[in-house]
């Protein structure tokens, strides 16, 4: 099972000091966080994509390309790449380029984005969000799997004889996750293609996450990619830890109370009860997160949000160390001992996908995708 961190890249004033990083400082802190996560031994680092302050990461493949060159093991990903307002041709090019530079040590998570004005800024209509996600992704897949594409759709100018470059590493497209909180249609999309489904449940009760994941698993099996319990599932999480639980509560509360999204709303007591936010000792995080599999089944990727709300860089790096040293080894051990042998431990790596594609070419792959592309499991 993979454990990692994801960041939205918010620029937020530290409520305890009143200091606010500028955009440059925040971008650099994200890069430092990613390198530190690799050194600490976490499995995944995922960057968000945003086009409005107070969020700085507009260009995730530039940032991830840098991180690829500075790290050795960590898998690079996104949370999320906007499939609605980006041109799918640019996505095909940029992420194939990242895949080549990172030597396959990457995947990406697609999302629609929920910031109203971003759609018209990029020439789109938020009311077409689902239709954009469906059409743009269908084109993105073709650009990766077919060398020469003729295409016509509703949302972008037609293509005649277009070849997206560079061609994907070893001729195999990057693994794709589809992230959605509320839309079963996106779970259906992930299931249809045999892709991963990520539920960012950090603001939602587990009962809701459970329903979405169950639906995705049922549809994954329906579409013939394997058994429901073999579908590739990822979850969000949010923690703040100190060895002493009370110190964690005292230290995090001013950040919680003024945080973007939930600040000035529910109390930290209510929010930690109703959502996965866990504030306390590493053992309390272990106790809470080791039970997620009881709600959603054995899953493959757990990402934590640790660097938002104005937390200083030093504190964030300490959180990463606590995760890597005290939390993840125990969660990994528990997850692996409970997992049935036929359920994949990790989402498919590039090497596995290449092997599956080769096996598919030789006619020995048991599971083939809807468009004939072999699906790794």
């Amino acid at each position: 099972m993979q454990f990692g961190i994801f960041t939205v890249g918010d620029v937020t004033t530290d409520p305890t000091t009143g200091s606010t990083p500028d955009d440059t400082e925040r971008v650099r802190s994200m890069l430092t966080i990613a390198e530190h996560a690799d050194q600490a031994g976490l499995d995944v680092v995922a960057f968000g994509e945003h086009h409005n302050p107070p969020f700085v990461p507009s260009s995730p493949t530039t940032m991830l390309g840098y991180v690829a060159g500075r790290t050795t093991n960590v898998v690079l990903s996104t949370a999320t790449t906007l499939i609605t307002t980006n041109d799918p041709v640019r996505l095909a090019e940029e992420y194939a380029m990242l895949q080549v530079i990172a030597d396959g040590r990457m995947d990406l998570m697609l999302g629609r984005g929920n910031t109203g004005p971003v759609y018209p800024w990029f020439g789109q209509d938020i009311r077409q969000g689902l239709n954009l996600a469906v059409e743009n992704y269908a084109l993105l897949r073709r650009l990766w799997t077919e060398d020469v594409v003729d295409w016509e759709g509703k949302f972008r100018t037609p293509l005649q004889g277009f070849t997206s470059t560079p061609r994907p590493l070893d001729g195999v497209a990057p693994f794709v996750w589809h992230g959605s909180i509320r839309s079963p249609e996106i779970a259906e999309q992930a299931a249809y293609y045999g892709d991963g489904f990520f539920h960012n449940n950090i603001f939602w009760p587990m009962s809701h996450t459970q329903q979405m994941v169950r639906f995705y698993r049922q549809r994954y099996e329906h579409h013939g990619h394997g058994r429901a319990d073999q579908a590739i599932v990822g979850l969000g999480g949010q923690v703040f830890m100190r060895k002493d639980s009370q110190r964690a509560w005292d230290e995090f509360r001013p950040y919680f109370d003024r945080a973007p999204v939930y600040g000035h709303g529910p109390s930290m007591e209510d929010f930690t009860r109703e959502t996965p936010l866990t504030v306390g000792s590493p053992q309390q995080v272990i106790d809470r997160y080791s039970r997620f599999r009881e709600s959603v089944g054995d899953f493959q990727r757990q990402l934590f949000l640790v660097d938002h709300a104005g937390l200083p860089l030093k504190t964030v790096l300490e959180q990463i160390d606590l995760l890597a040293e005290e939390v993840v080894p125990v969660l990994r051990r528990e997850a692996e001992s409970a997992r049935p042998a036929h359920v994949p431990s990790d989402p498919p790596s590039h090497a596995q996908r290449v092997a599956a594609a080769r096996a598919g070419d030789a006619g020995t792959a048991p599971a083939a995708g809807r468009d004939g592309e072999a699906v790794a499991s």
Binding site: N131, A138, E188, Q189, P205, F215, Y262, H264, G265, P266
Partner: protein
């Protein structure tokens, strides 16, 4: 949220949800809401139907409603009340009139109801205020909310001023008569329809071929 089974046994019971946004306790808004619910149940009983009444006291959910507006997701208690509204066969919605319109707490609750949850649902409106000079506020301040949500809003809405609860209110069309007429209107609409099926957000997802435009 409280649930009371009322009325005679028989065919599938209709689900009546009473949303009351009074502030004080006891509240004249709740008093009016209960009377409107009783009149609706009486109207359904007269038509041979049973009814299950669920009361949503918005005051009890006040913090949860604000938190939902801020965070985008409901607490468990609020979620149960929103589900009740979504699955209702009929709704009685009663608010105090503040500053010539529905109370902010009431409209905030309506704001967190899914925009499609009340499409076609019969809704009976009620409002309370200090004097009858506020009475048309229910028409210009409350009715448009439910029209926007494409609810089936009953033509009679009931406004109760403080005087209506004593002997100095309207002596030609006294409050009890207005309540009976409004409750009977809602009951007639509810009786003319089959009971609503529970909403299933996963049951209506189109096949992916349809989403792709190939279906």
């Amino acid at each position: 949220m409280t649930v009371h089974p009322l009325g005679r046994s028989g065919a599938a019971p209709r689900r009546l949800v009473v949303v009351s946004a009074g502030i004080s306790q006891p509240s004249s808004t709740r008093l009016l809401a209960d009377r409107l619910a009783e009149a609706t149940v009486a109207g359904l009983t007269a038509r041979g139907l049973t009814c299950e009444v669920t009361v949503v006291e918005v005051r009890d959910l006040a913090h949860d409603v604000v938190n939902h507006l801020l965070t985008g997701f409901p607490s468990q208690a609020l979620s149960a009340s929103l589900d009740a509204v979504t699955n209702a066969d009929g709704v009685v919605a009663v608010t105090p009139i503040f500053a010539a319109s529905a109370s902010g707490l009431f409209t905030s609750f309506v704001d967190v109801i899914d925009k499609d949850a009340l499409v076609g649902t019969p809704v009976l409106l009620g409002a309370t205020g200090g004097t009858s000079r506020h009475s048309l506020a229910v028409e210009h301040g409350v009715r448009p909310l439910f029209t926007y949500l494409r609810a089936h809003v009953e033509s009679t809405a009931v406004f109760a001023a403080t005087d209506d609860w004593g002997g100095t209110g309207d002596e030609v069309k006294p409050l009890p008569a207005r309540i009976r007429r409004a409750g009977d209107e809602l009951a007639a609409t509810m009786a003319g329809r089959a009971p609503a099926l529970p909403a299933d957000p996963f049951g209506d997802v189109p096949s992916f071929e349809t989403l792709l435009g190939n279906g």
